[in-house]
Amino acid sequence: MRLNELNIGESGIIKKIHAKEPLKSKLLSMGITRGEKVKVLKHTLAKNTFDIEVGNSSIALREEEAEQIEVEKI
């Protein structure tokens, strides 16, 4: 499943980043890498923008970007 399918408060383990370069490097360098735990802290009302927690940082990204991140729900 993809990150944008998680609901607020749900977590997953990152399986694969499907994004193309240079977005992929950007996501990786922000700590969004395989095996990391990711939690959806919040999203806006229309689910346009997500606030996720990876490691010790919180990152805002759009639905389109969240869709590029494959996760396994835990």
Binding site: L27, T33, T44, L45, N48, S57, I59, A60, L61, R62
Partner: protein
């Protein structure tokens, strides 16, 4: 004295600039990186018999740059000469930050790490063993807090020691990767970079390094080995992309090192709690709008308190100077030309400081990034994205830094659209004009709201224009939006006061030099030529009006005025508006000169009265609309031109706001009438 040149590198939000500000006895130079308009901060100071020179490089997440600013950092690290890398790390985000540290270590330069924000980390029960870190990586490190000023001196002695010993990092990846690096190193011959660095960057497809290596005579010798190496890694890691493999390698290394050197801190939960409210799915947007509204209310109501005092002091100052000077041209120019005009501009300093303070607080506390998150959905609808929000809000302060802030946008289309609409965000310099006209024409209870409406109206118009530009001129998808939301931090009072002090100094300097000169010119053009013979035939009470009506300025104004006549402008308004192209405050100072009558003991506060009496309401509306939309000042235009190399966009930028402003003013004038 021997100089140690140090490149200061780190990921965004690690407190690098904070660190620079905390060094005692340092001198700061601000300039630009050569060829680009990214701000370059350099500090120099003496320690242990050396002159240390720190160059603050733009924050970057990795050596695979994403934004133009990140490219600046990489180019500097690759091409410039420096003795040592000082890598600043946020202690609270060790794993992520160290993954970048390893990339820097690959370069095989002498290097020192500063674990910054250690105070916060320690308060949450965290600890970092820097000796252990040194044993593991051969990189000297120090726990520091730029905020509480500890560890800095120890850090600099480690910097000097590392420099003297030419201490090179020894950071190793897993055996499989190291094996391939060794294979490649054998084939790499002479190169300006270390062999290890070149080997690693080739494995992870660094195009900048490829380009350099491509020219080397030994390039063809390594191709086969490189291909085989990458193939083996792909199979070993079950991952197609070798760049991803290296990212994962570094992350794994970070985790390993962190478990050995650090005692984990308890998770900070305050940020999450605050965010529960501030970026709540439903409440987030109203809260943001309320905060903006509150800032504008404060700008107006608090800002008007010291106005009378400033006004009175300038009035008294003018009289005092008038008493000292002999009758004649000089006295006239100073007392009637310069002093009231400069006074009229300085009067608005409190308003501007409050507005800057608001923007500054948003930035320092970390709310600005949240505002970008909250606004992203809205901005997306207008063909922009959350990241555009920061340059747009900076535009409320001043367009010049706003144009530069647009550099964080990677996609050239997004960047250009954002830059083209920054002018719609009314800058601080336009505030005096609004305050003047709003005070003159609206009841005191609603003035704050009218001002807010002007700003919001301008911003909304900007968004609509952005949408039109996106549809008509820049088809295509907007760039991805990915942005770190930094932890909430208590703003540092000293830093904010210092910033406001700089702003005050600059504003007063501008008022004292540029505005004073401009008003002197305007005054001269409005007082001459005088036909003494004619003047004798006119009663004394009408002489001043007569001089003004026959002045050079009136002649110029009257020549252009037909263009502005549909808006109800007289030549005085026309001249003021055109003078505003030099700088927006000049509109106010020009009006102060043009509506000045020397026989009355007029002070700048009374300018508001005079304006109310002389300008009809509909014309005032037209003036406000023109100020909202027409070209910004010359400095801002110059910045745009420097940032955008294409001639067609420069031309477009120079013309379209004025056409837009004229049409808007015409519509506004007709409605108000």
């Amino acid at each position: 004295m021997k100089e140690i040149k140090i490149a200061l590198v780190g990921q965004p939000n690690v407190g690098k600039s904070h660190l620079i500000n905390s060094i005692s006895g340092a001198t700061l130079h601000v300039g630009n990186f050569s060829g680009v308009t990214v701000e370059k901060k350099e500090v120099e100071f003496e320690r242990g018999g050396y002159k240390l020179k720190l160059i603050d490089l733009p924050g970057t997440y990795s050596l695979h740059p994403y934004t133009p600013e990140e490219k600046v950092t990489k180019e500097f690290l690759l091409n410039e000469k420096y003795d040592l890398i000082l890598n600043v790390v946020d202690s609270n985000q060790l794993e992520k930050n160290l993954a970048f540290t390893w990339q820097l270590a690959d370069m095989q330069h002498p290097m020192v790490v500063a674990f910054n924000m250690y105070d916060e980390y320690a308060r949450q029960g965290g600890e970092i063993d820097t000796d252990k870190f040194f044993t593991l990586t051969n990189i000297r490190a120090e726990n520091v807090s730029a905020k509480e000023k500890f560890g800095l001196e120890e850090l600099f002695s480690k910097v000097i020691k590392t420099y003297e010993e030419k201490n090179i990092p020894r950071v190793y990846y897993s055996e499989i990767v190291e094996e391939e690096i060794e294979n490649l190193k054998e084939k790499i011959k002479d190169c300006e970079f270390s062999k290890r660095f070149v080997a690693i960057r080739l494995i992870e497809d660094d195009e900048d390094i490829y380009k350099i290596v491509h020219e080397k005579p030994w390039y063809s010798d390594i191709l086969d080995i490189l291909k085989a190496a990458k193939e083996r890694l792909r199979i070993e890691y079950d991952e197609e992309d070798t760049k991803t493999i290296m990212f994962e390698e570094r992350f794994a290394l970070s985790k390993g090192v962190v478990t050995q050197i650090a005692k984990k801190a308890v998770k900070e939960t305050l940020t999450e709690k605050i965010d529960k409210i501030l970026i709540h799915p439903i409440l987030g947007l109203p809260i943001f709008l309320f905060i903006m509204w509150a800032i504008f209310q404060a700008t107006f109501s608090l800002g008007s308190i010291p106005m009378d005092y400033i006004d009175a002091s300038f009035g008294a100052f003018g009289e005092w100077v008038g008493g000292l000077l002999p009758e004649g041209f000089v006295k006239d120019a100073v007392v009637n030309g310069i002093i009231p005009a400069v006074g009229a501009v300085v009067m608005f300093l409190p308003n501007i400081l409050i507005l800057y303070l608001g923007i500054n607080l948003m930035e320092q506390t970390g709310y600005m990034a949240r505002a970008a998150y909250v606004m992203d959905g809205v901005l997306k609808r207008f063909g922009l994205q959350g990241r555009s929000f920061i340059p747009l809000v900076s535009g409320f302060g001043c367009s010049v830094p706003a144009y530069m802030a647009a550099r964080t946008l990677k996609n050239p289309k997004d960047r250009l659209i954002t830059m083209l609409v920054i002018g719609f965000m009314s800058c601080g310099a336009r505030l005096p004009v609004y305050v003047l006209f709003v005070s003159a024409f609206f009841a005191p209870e609603i003035q704050g709201n009218v001002l807010f409406a002007i700003y919001i109206g301008g911003a909304l118009m900007g968004l609509i224009v952005a949408k039109i530009l996106r549809i008509v001129l820049f088809k295509g998808e907007p760039e991805p939006f990915v942005m770190e939301l930094p932890k909430y931090r208590f703003p540092k009072v000293k830093a904010i006061l210092f910033d406001l002090w700089i702003k005050t100094k600059m504003y007063l300097k501008k008022a004292g030099t540029f505005i004073a000169t401009a008003s002197l010119i305007i005054w001269f053009l409005s007082s001459y030529p005088v036909d003494k013979k004619e003047l004798q035939n006119i009663p004394e009470s009408e002489q001043q009006t007569y001089i003004l009506e026959h002045s050079y300025l009136a002649q110029i104004g009257k020549a252009i005025n037909p263009v502005f006549e549909p808006l109800g402008f007289t030549w005085k308004e026309t001249v003021s508006i055109i003078a505003g192209l030099a700088a927006k405050e000049v509109v106010v100072s020009t009006m102060a000169v043009l509506y000045h009558t020397p026989d009355s003991d007029e002070t700048s506060k009374e300018l508001i009265e005079t304006i109310r009496k002389n300008i009809p309401f509909a014309t005032a509306v037209a003036i406000i609309l023109i100020i909202m939309f027409y070209s910004p000042c010359l400095a801002a235009m110059g910045t745009f031109w420097a940032e955008v190399p294409q001639w067609q966009w420069r031309l477009f930028y120079t013309i379209y706001p004025n056409v837009f402003a004229y049409i808007a003013a015409l519509i506004g004038y007709m409605i108000a009438k």
